[in-house]
């Protein structure tokens, strides 16, 4: 990871890295907090993977390896900010307060959404790659019109970076100087496609050609991600315009539980990245610098464990929706074809219709 441009505040060994441009603003408790978030989200992710293996989820998109990128970014958000995820941002959703079981509804295939996006100021999952980046810019244009000091954060992957929508969102963000921060998790792979197919130069550079800053941050370094994102959001809030952040990280797991990564990448690569584990380096720091003791780590682990068990219970309790719910919210106002469908479904005895 010898990369001069890469913003890194903590080495893989957990040693502080002095960076003239970025200083860590976090104290002991806050770092413990970030560590806790990462432990919890990893545990929940593992629980979800086993739930899928056990046939309780239709699919799961693991986040392992990307915890620092997501927690660093998610915790950098102010409560009033708004975020637009893709489909893998479980860590960000966690930071926004989305209940874990709500994150899993879409993977249990009982909804296409899962949580109230206005309540958590975190939009619903977007599966069509890149679409959400334009929503983020539009939302940010609304923030401007309201004269509000808020920022918008949107997530996409190295694969999605090639989509026209993402690139148009750069044009627009620059043109309107919109208060939006683009957060690209370059986890090296878009399913089986290496990120080098999408760009031969660092993705952060792409922003330069659109006239706004692009920053490459060590995506496995939660302190660096936090500071870089916080700074970019603050800059956006005060009218400084958009920033692109490329979080250089790695997807340790499969693309989804449907994927078999052994078909396209070698174990050695995965092993290398396991040594850059985002959790371990923070743990080292906490032990060495802050003398955090075993009891604290055990408490965190226990909390993660009980959240995982609760998640399991919650998921198992999610029954098959009444099919007639497919007609709910298809339209905001009454629609004759929706009414006709409902009627037919009741007549066929598929649903009692008392929805």
């Amino acid at each position: 990871m010898i990369d001069e441009e890469l913003v890194q505040l903590l080495t893989p060994e957990g040693l502080r890295n002095v960076n003239p441009d970025y200083e860590s603003t976090l104290g002991r408790d806050e770092i413990v907090g970030l560590y806790r978030d990462m432990v919890i989200i990893r545990r929940l992710c593992n629980e979800s993977t086993s739930l899928q293996r056990q046939g309780q989820l239709a699919l799961w998109a693991p986040v392992q390896g990307q915890e620092a990128a997501q927690i660093g970014a998610g915790r950098a958000l102010a409560p009033k900010d708004f975020s637009f995820p893709s489909y893998r941002e479980h860590g960000v959703a966690w930071c926004r307060g989305v209940p874990p079981e709500d994150m899993l509804r879409v993977f249990r295939a009982v909804t296409t959404g899962g949580w109230d996006p206005q309540k958590y100021r975190h939009s619903v999952p977007t599966v069509v790659l890149g679409n959400q980046t334009l929503h983020a810019v539009g939302y940010a244009m609304g923030v401007q019109r309201d004269g509000a000091e808020e920022a918008v954060l949107t997530f996409f992957g190295d694969g999605a970076s090639s989509q026209g929508d993402v690139l148009e969102s750069f044009v627009w963000a620059a043109s309107f100087n919109a208060p939006v921060v683009f957060f690209c998790q370059n986890n090296q792979w878009g399913i089986s496609t290496p990120s080098s197919v999408q760009s031969r130069i660092p993705l952060s550079h792409r922003a330069h050609g659109f006239g706004f800053p692009g920053i490459r941050v060590d995506g496995n370094d939660v302190l660096a991600v936090y500071e870089v994102t916080r700074r970019a959001l603050e800059n956006a809030r005060v009218g400084g315009g958009p920033t692109l952040i490329e979080a250089y990280t790695y997807r340790i797991g499969a693309h989804t539980t449907s994927d078999d990564p052994t078909r396209y990448r070698i174990d050695a690569e995965v092993e290398v990245w396991k040594h850059r584990d985002p959790l371990e380096r923070v743990k080292s720091l906490l032990v060495r610098e802050y003398k955090v003791n075993k009891a604290t780590f055990e408490k965190v682990a226990a909390e993660a464990e009980s959240l995982a068990l609760k998640l399991r219970d919650d998921v198992l309790a999610m029954g098959r929706p009444d099919p007639i719910t497919m007609f709910d919210h298809a339209y905001a106002a009454p629609h004759p074809l929706v009414d006709e469908g409902r009627r037919e479904m009741v007549e066929l005895g598929i649903s009692g219709g008392s929805h």
């Binding site: 909804t111 977007t126 334009l134 810019v137 026209g164 929508d165 043109s175 074809l337």
Partner: protein, 328 residues
């Protein structure tokens, strides 16, 4: 009085103005709609009066126009997007079909996708390629969307306001060849429901249904048919999706014969839909199969020969004759 004569272009302009006056959250966005007032001048003067923040001259990208309008909707704004010409809506197709149409559902009712996508559509103005298309059936087919089309200045004035106020996303199809035709606009009357069809002319023998620029062509066909002793009932669908099938079925039950007129080629079109639905609803009344008069199944031709592509009075009358030729 509260009624005045104006062109459809002016009526749309006035309707948009009123919608913006009523609700400060209403924005307009599109290419060249500000300083220029749009290539058809539909938004003429609105940027001057409402400012650049409410009448937004967009960078040149349709997917972004619609995609940012989605974000603005999430923020509580209601954006009227202008697509410069029908043939340029396709870059936005993904945002329309995957996001605009589905986000109300995906958010379980939390997001209101109250936005309007205005499309000058159909041919007849002697334009070059991509400026004369009829994409309405693509949108009609898409669950989550609604599609309407105005055929008169009065409808233009009211329907655009109703569309802006509506909570579902609406594809608003404007028959560009009728922009400059004048008509009475009742500025105060209570407007007809946005999703209701209107019988433009009563008749006995054949029900003829169409929308947009076809309405005038159908009325002219009815004039001619009358001279030949055939009485056409002309229905302006107004709402392309959902269709007001009750109004249409009432007419077909009376006449027993049906001709549908549209500029799009007929395959898997609104015309097919109207025929299929009315056949089901009026099976015992129909004395002939519903016939469609459509554009041909070829790319829209160079405009020197577009009049032979678009449904003409002659082609409508030919279909009327054919439907009358069935034994009853």
């Amino acid at each position: 009085m509260a009624s005045t004569t104006m062109t459809m272009a002016k009526a749309l302009n006035e309707g948009l103005r009123r919608a913006m006056e009523k609700n400060p959250k209403v924005l307009l966005m599109g290419e060249d709609i500000g300083r220029l007032g749009g290539v058809f001048r539909i938004t003429d003067g609105l940027q001057k009066d409402f400012g650049e923040d409410r009448v937004i001259d967009a960078p040149l990208a349709e997917s972004a126009i619609v995609g940012t309008a989605v974000g603005l909707a999430i923020r509580g704004y209601r954006t009227v997007c202008e697509i410069q010409f029908d043939g340029f809506v396709y870059p936005a197709f993904d945002q329309i079909v995957s996001q605009v149409a589905k986000l109300h559902k995906r958010s379980e009712g939390v997001y209101t996708m109250g936005l309007v996508i205005r499309i000058p559509f159909q041919g007849g103005i002697g334009a070059i390629e991509h400026h004369s298309e009829s994409p309405e059936s693509y949108f009609a087919q898409t669950a989550g969307l609604r599609v309407v089309s105005c055929a008169t200045p009065n409808d233009a004035y009211w329907m655009i306001q109703q569309s802006v106020e509506h909570d579902d996303p609406i594809i608003f199809c404007e028959p560009k060849s009728r922009y400059w035709e004048k008509g009475e606009v009742d500025l105060e009357g209570a407007p007809r429901g946005l999703f209701e069809a209107e019988v433009r002319r009563e008749g006995r023998d054949v029900t003829v249904i169409g929308y947009g620029s076809s309405v005038k062509t159908m009325l002219r066909a009815a004039d001619t048919a009358e001279l030949e002793g055939t009485s056409l009932e002309v229905i302006d669908a107004r709402s392309v999706a959902p269709l007001d099938l009750d109004t249409m079925a009432r007419s077909v039950q009376k006449t027993g014969r049906l001709v549908v007129v549209q500029e799009a080629p007929h395959t898997a079109s609104i015309g097919s839909e109207i025929v299929a639905e009315l056949t089901e609803r009026c099976f015992y009344s129909l004395r002939a199969p519903g016939l469609r008069v459509s554009g041909y199944h070829v790319p829209y031709p160079p405009s020197r020969i577009e009049d032979d592509f678009r449904p003409s009075v002659d082609r409508i009358l030919d279909a009327v004759d054919r439907t009358m030729g069935y034994d009853s």
